[in-house]
């Protein structure tokens, strides 16, 4: 064979190989843009909402991907990884029953799955729309991979969602910083936190709803950065004279929390997955409390922490820390943590590892 022919043949193969490699980038589809449109859903049957009254009922809940109180491996209480479809539906029925009982106008949820093997591929956003009075939803994934090759997790798509009785005009996902101390492989496959923002048409008035779930396990200041970016979003929205509700699972404690570390339900021994020491975070939420109206006013919380605790991983225990929040640049009234029958009219401990939070927003 002539040298020129050799070179051409060689180049053809190399070119095709390089092309093939480029086509194969992000092979597990885990990546997001810095800013992108959120995914929109609507219920199979739209239930026309009543015209909004003077107040909107807002609800916030980390629903633990419909896992109820199954003891999963990541909490170190058990070894479960994947649920059956009947387990998922049974747990979702519990969540839907509570949501119907509260009957919120707008619901912010975290850890909701749309296409995950651990949830038998049930689209939980769509399921909740079809089994509550809520009509519309915006969804922003925070964990997406065709396959997570760890712990048997497999395919996952989990994130934050905003569900509403009223139409969603627009929604987008803003990426938050990744945990810098994670190695490249972990960063590629692990959670990518975000802020989900939706503009909702409430009877002709626009309401901006901001939902987030910040990092639980960062020790490098990433969680603080994420909370600061949330605050910047709120300031920017307020500067545009837009009424907003913002919140979610911020994975940190309010100022003035009495118990800040050594929680009895933290049984993980792997240091990377311990989230039970908040002593260095005691003032991280101070700017939010200073600038905005909180669903649970700080003075109320500091008077008695126990009434407002929202999280525990131990199904046999009781709520032992407050991680879930709602803030507004408007006026909130009647904030409440639905801890149990006496506080909310229904047991919530079996439904998720977080208790739901509700508050009424006064419409201007």
């Amino acid at each position: 064979m002539a040298p020129t022919a050799h070179r051409k043949s060689f180049l053809s193969v190399i070119t095709l190989s390089v092309l093939a490699f480029l086509l194969g980038c992000d092979p597990f589809h885990t990546q997001f843009n810095d800013s992108e449109k959120a995914q929109l859903y609507s219920a199979s049957q739209i239930i026309a909402p009543a015209p909004p009254g003077p107040r909107l009922l807002i609800m916030d809940w980390n629903v633990k991907f419909g896992g109820g109180r199954i003891d999963f491996f990541f909490d170190c209480h058990g070894d479960e990884v994947l649920m059956t479809k009947s387990e998922v539906i049974s747990n979702l029925q519990g969540l839907a029953e509570k949501i119907r009982q509260v009957d919120p106008d707008i619901l912010l949820i975290q850890e909701v799955d749309t296409l995950s093997k651990r949830c038998a591929y049930v689209n939980q956003v769509k399921w909740l729309l079809d089994n509550t009075e809520l009509n519309y939803a915006a969804y922003a994934s925070q964990w997406k991979a065709d396959y997570v090759p760890s712990d048997g997790i497999g395919r996952v798509n989990s994130g934050n969602a905003i569900l509403s009785k009223y139409p969603i005009l627009s929604a987008h996902r803003t990426a938050l910083p990744l945990i810098s101390e994670d190695d490249a492989l972990t960063q590629y496959f692990y959670l990518k936190r975000n802020i989900l923002t939706a503009v909702i048409d409430v009877g002709g008035r626009e309401l901006t709803v901001i939902n987030t779930h910040t990092s639980a396990y960062s020790h490098d200041g990433t969680k603080k950065q994420q909370i600061d970016i949330l605050q910047e979003h709120m300031v920017e929205t307020d500067s545009q004279s837009r009424l907003f509700v913002a919140g979610g699972d911020l994975n940190t404690l309010p100022p003035g929390t009495l118990k800040q570390w050594d929680f009895p339900d933290s049984v993980c021994t792997d240091e990377a997955f311990q989230a039970d020491d908040y002593r260095d975070e005691s003032d991280w939420l101070t700017p939010l409390y200073n600038d905005w109206d909180a669903a649970i006013p700080l003075v109320d919380y500091q008077a008695d922490n126990s009434l407002y605790l929202t999280h525990t991983t131990d199904s046999g225990g009781f709520w032992n820390r407050k991680l879930d929040y709602l803030f507004t640049n408007g006026i909130f009234v009647n904030g409440m943590i639905h801890q149990d029958t006496s506080h909310g009219g229904m047991e919530t401990m079996p439904l998720s590892d977080h208790a739901p939070l509700t508050v009424e927003l006064e419409l201007p």
Partner: protein, 251 residues
């Protein structure tokens, strides 16, 4: 004369070779000449036991997934007709990947039975021209197992199709390969495989690949190309495009 070798196989799927050259014959009805070896970076090690009987096993995969394939040529006049028979012990690999942490493809609490794959294929190959050789394939995969079994499917392209018989008891595959010499030492291959696994919640898959192969020397070749997988999975239908590359030797 020993000539260059070929073929790449993404994880589980055997790939066809080209043409009349028996050393380059992995996916065809042709067998290696007696005493001849061929191997690739990702391809199995093959050995011509006799002129019409070939043994094959992947040298690295063998230690976690013990297996052996035998290809026997029955007709070699004008058209080549062969059968291929293989057996693999699957449990050890499945137990290895059922683990906590990184590399845990299956949950650590999976129950893995004593599981085997018994594979039987029929192959027919005819060369019409140096630039066109066709191979037809029909394959039946069986999965005899013993003991309690509770482990989820691996919903990954290639893997899902190749392991579907673990859950259904059997799967069927049909394939057609077209290959030949494009120009001088530049070869091509285009193929199409159809999977069917009746009884599964999802029941079909399609795989197709196209690659170019350059025979760097009589005993060495490199290839690069693309593999497309379209399949039904428990979460719905999905298409994947994967790069393929391999280095191939014969001796």
């Amino acid at each position: 004369m020993i000539r260059g070798v070929l073929l790449f196989c993404m994880i589980t799927c055997p790939v066809t070779a080209w043409g009349q050259d028996r050393i380059l014959s992995q996916g065809t009805a042709l067998t290696l000449p007696k005493g001849t070896w061929a191997v690739g970076l990702f391809s199995p090690l093959r050995y011509g036991l006799t002129d019409d009987t070939e043994l094959a096993a992947h040298p690295l995969l063998f230690f976690v997934r013990p297996h052996l394939n035998v290809k026997k040529n029955w007709v070699s006049k004008g058209i080549y007709l062969s059968t291929r028979h293989g057996v693999a012990y699957e449990s050890f690999l499945l137990e290895t990947i059922a683990r906590e942490g990184t590399g845990g493809i299956l949950p650590a609490n999976s129950q893995i039975p004593q599981l085997f794959t018994v594979s039987n294929s029929a192959l027919a190959t005819k060369q019409f021209h140096p630039w066109l050789t066709l191979t037809l394939l029909a394959e039946l995969n069986l999965a005899p197992s013993f003991g309690s079994s509770d482990f989820p499917s691996m919903d990954l392209p290639l893997v899902y199709q190749a392991t579907a018989h673990f859950y259904t008891g059997y799967s069927l595959r049909w394939g057609i390969d077209m290959e030949g010499i494009l120009w001088n030492s530049l070869h091509y291959l285009v193929d199409l495989d159809l999977w069917w696994f009746p009884g599964h919640s999802t029941s079909w898959g399609v795989e197709s690949k196209a690659y170019l192969l350059w025979r760097f020397s009589p005993s060495f070749a490199i290839l690069g190309g693309i593999k497309m997988i379209l399949g039904s999975y428990p979460f719905g239908n999905q298409q994947h495009l994967l790069p393929i590359v391999d280095l191939l030797w014969s001796f």
